[in-house]
């Protein structure tokens, strides 16, 4: 067991998989330049030194090519792990992800496989509208993609290894404020949870949610940074006698509906917390499922806590109102226990 940050855990996963499987290689902007950053958030630091720049490939600023090259290499037997500096730039490779990576297997009736991983950092960190989005929901709507979003070092490592071994294209979302990146790349307001990571090899299977805190009164579903807000909220609520069950989905596609359903059958109340804009976030889908499948067990309206429907602002004071706070989660849960 060693305690480490998420950035370290991700780096370890990459290192172990690259040692294990010669098909695994990395590509992206500024990931392997000697003397460089190791990617925007230090995750790939040191890997070019160990594996060489053939397997840790710096690309031009060409997101469509990053995705396209990953797809092509994956088709032909490699296991690329690509890196997009900020998840906002996924939109520059959207055709490759939505029309190609997700659909080639289907169009070819299974003849093609696209075992690639696209790593993408999400979250608002006072950089304005083009460097702050959490675009998971754009991809949960795309059959053929898997979508992963780990919130702890343990999960980050275990899920990244699972993603690399998966035979499908996986969008792997990481949160800027959870990395624990150090030195020049550290971020103000970072949570940077450190976590225990076993020394022996392990995998966290894609598609399994986990209960981060057990409770009987209300179910809160939250991923990435929002998980920590939800857990804080649960502490506050506990003091008021409300026992929240906090579920971290860890994977958004495939989504572990059963786990949430199981919890809601017990609690009768559901609150979903996500960092991105409310309308048509992935939380909408969770709410829609439960409004169908858990209908008879629901004792209260399903609530969502999310960013309002505005682009991410730059000013920290505005950003604090934009990103859902612990207080908003608390208030929303409370509202389910009064008259409504």
């Amino acid at each position: 067991m060693a305690e480490m940050t998420i950035a370290e855990a991700l780096r370890q996963a990459l290192r172990e998989e690259m040692r294990r499987d010669p098909r695994v290689f990395l590509l992206g902007e500024d990931i392997g330049v000697p003397g460089g950053f190791g990617g925007a958030f230090t995750v790939t630091l040191g890997l070019a030194e160990e594996f060489g720049r053939q397997r840790v490939r710096d690309t031009p600023i060409s997101e469509a090519a990053i995705a396209g090259v990953a797809i092509g290499a994956a088709l032909c037997g490699m296991r690329p792990v690509a890196d997009v500096q900020y998840s906002d730039f996924l939109f520059n490779m959207m055709d490759q992800l939505v029309n190609q990576a997700a659909k080639l297997r289907y169009m070819s009736a299974g003849a093609l496989a696209v075992p690639m991983v696209m790593r993408a950092p999400v979250g608002a960190t006072a950089r304005g509208a083009q460097h702050a989005q959490s675009p998971e929901a754009f991809f949960t709507h795309v059959p053929g993609l898997k979508v992963v979003a780990p919130a702890t070092a343990y999960d980050a490592k275990g899920l990244l290894k699972a993603a690399i071994r998966d035979d499908n294209p996986v969008l792997f979302f990481e949160h800027k404020l959870l990395y624990g990146s150090k030195g020049a790349r550290s971020e103000k307001g970072a949570v940077s949870p450190k976590g225990e990571v076993p020394d022996e090899e392990y995998i966290v299977p894609i598609g399994e949610a986990t209960v981060r805190r057990a409770g009987k009164d209300v179910t809160i579903v939250a991923s990435l940074l929002m998980l920590y807000r939800a857990l804080e909220a649960a502490e506050v609520l506990a003091q008021e006698g409300i026992e929240a069950e906090v579920i971290d989905p860890r994977t958004l596609v495939p989504f572990d509906k059963e786990r949430v359903l199981h919890s809601v059958k017990k609690t009768g109340r559901l609150v979903i917390v996500e960092e991105d804009n409310l309308t048509n976030g992935w939380g909408a889908e969770v709410a829609a499922w439960m409004a169908d499948e858990a209908f008879v067990w629901l004792d209260a309206p399903i609530k969502r806590v999310a960013a309002p429907d505005v682009p991410p602002p730059f000013a920290p004071i505005l950003e604090q109102h934009y990103v859902p706070s612990t207080a908003r989660v608390v208030d929303t849960v409370r509202s389910l226990f009064g008259a409504y």
Binding site: S62, A65, G68, G72, L75, Q96, S108, A109, L112
Partner: protein, 326 residues
């Protein structure tokens, strides 16, 4: 423009093989066009009638293990590469025995086991993917080459630019073959480019750019051979532009009123098939009978392909849910 390497003259069997590939493509497309007009094929068709010399000339240069990327107009490429006309016919007819079990259709024909990637119909979208396929070969220590077709119109897509550049800087073993048929759907080349040739863009990536008569199958073969040799020996990509013309409409019943009959007539005279037949027979390489024997084989294949396709079952409705994830 790069000087073309000299290549050994083609053997007789290779010449006949070129003819066979072209003729098969031509007759397949004429046939499916009839079937389409009779309502026996659904959806739409993008035919490559008139462009067969490029398909055949380029693809004869490859060897097993190489990889081909195609476009929304893939029939001639696929047939020239040896994809089964039976499975193609079945795919066009939306049958479970089709190359994509009826899930792909005309625009996604392919046979990956033969190295022909089921075609990609997003214009330009195949280019960075082809670069990735070429990268795989390099990383695997193989000397396999990737050949990627695209139209003139594709060269104005952002993905095209990104893909060609990354192939160039990494010296990837890929040959980019532009079929410049003077139009992107209805849009004339000169409205979309302020340069004379797509191949002029090679300068932007520091790679060779070559222009050939795409209706001259031997010229295409020679230029592609050189580019493939270059790629295989690790010298990197080539941008090869084949000047050609589609003698048919862009898709299904396109009345082609955006171009003049005069222009069509001029290109009709440059139809690669009769011209190659004339060359083959005039040069004394082959008797007309030898070619007719090929023609007859092809007619038999097509009749058989139709029968196969029509007799094949439609996909099971439940197959809708298969092949989404591995």
């Amino acid at each position: 423009m790069d000087q073309q390497h000299t290549i050994p003259p083609l053997k007789k069997e290779a010449l006949l093989d070129l003819y066979r590939r072209m003729r098969l493509a031509r007759r397949f497309e004429e046939t499916v066009n009839d079937l389409y007009l009779q309502g026996r094929i659904p959806s739409t068709l993008h035919l490559a009638i008139g462009q067969e010399a490029t398909a055949a000339g380029a693809l004869q240069c490859l060897r097993p293990g190489d990889t081909v990327f195609s476009t929304h107009r893939p029939h001639a490429h696929a047939l020239a590469h040896g994809v089964s006309p039976h499975a193609m016919m079945a795919e066009l007819m939306a049958k479970s025995t089709g190359t994509c079990k009826g899930k792909g259709g005309s625009m996604h024909i392919g046979d990956f086991a033969r190295g022909f990637v089921p075609a990609i119909a997003i214009v330009g979208g195949n280019v960075p993917i082809a670069a990735g396929a070429a990268l795989a070969a390099t990383l695997q220590g193989s000397d396999a080459v990737t050949l990627c077709f695209f139209g003139d119109g594709a060269a104005n897509e952002g993905a095209w630019h990104e893909g060609v550049n990354i192939a160039a800087i990494w010296r990837l073993p890929v040959v980019f073959v532009c079929e410049n048929n003077l139009y992107a759907a209805s849009t004339p080349f000169q409205e979309a480019f302020s340069i004379a040739h797509v191949a002029d863009r090679a300068v932007a990536y520091g790679i060779p750019g070559v222009v050939v008569d795409g209706n001259d199958v031997l010229a295409v073969h020679a230029a592609t051979s050189a580019a493939v040799a270059r790629a295989r020996s690790g010298e990197g990509p080539t941008l090869l532009e084949c000047l050609t013309y589609r003698l048919c409409g862009h898709s299904r019943s396109d009345p082609r009123t955006y171009r003049t009959q005069q222009e069509e007539k001029e290109w009709q005279e440059r139809d690669p098939l009769p011209n190659f037949v004339a060359w083959l027979t005039a040069g004394g390489h082959f008797t007309p009978e030898a070619l007719q024997a090929v023609d007859q084989q092809i007619e038999a294949i097509l009749a058989d392909a139709i029968a196969f396709a029509e007799a094949s079952p439609s996909p099971e409705p439940m197959s809708l849910y298969e092949d989404v994830y591995a």
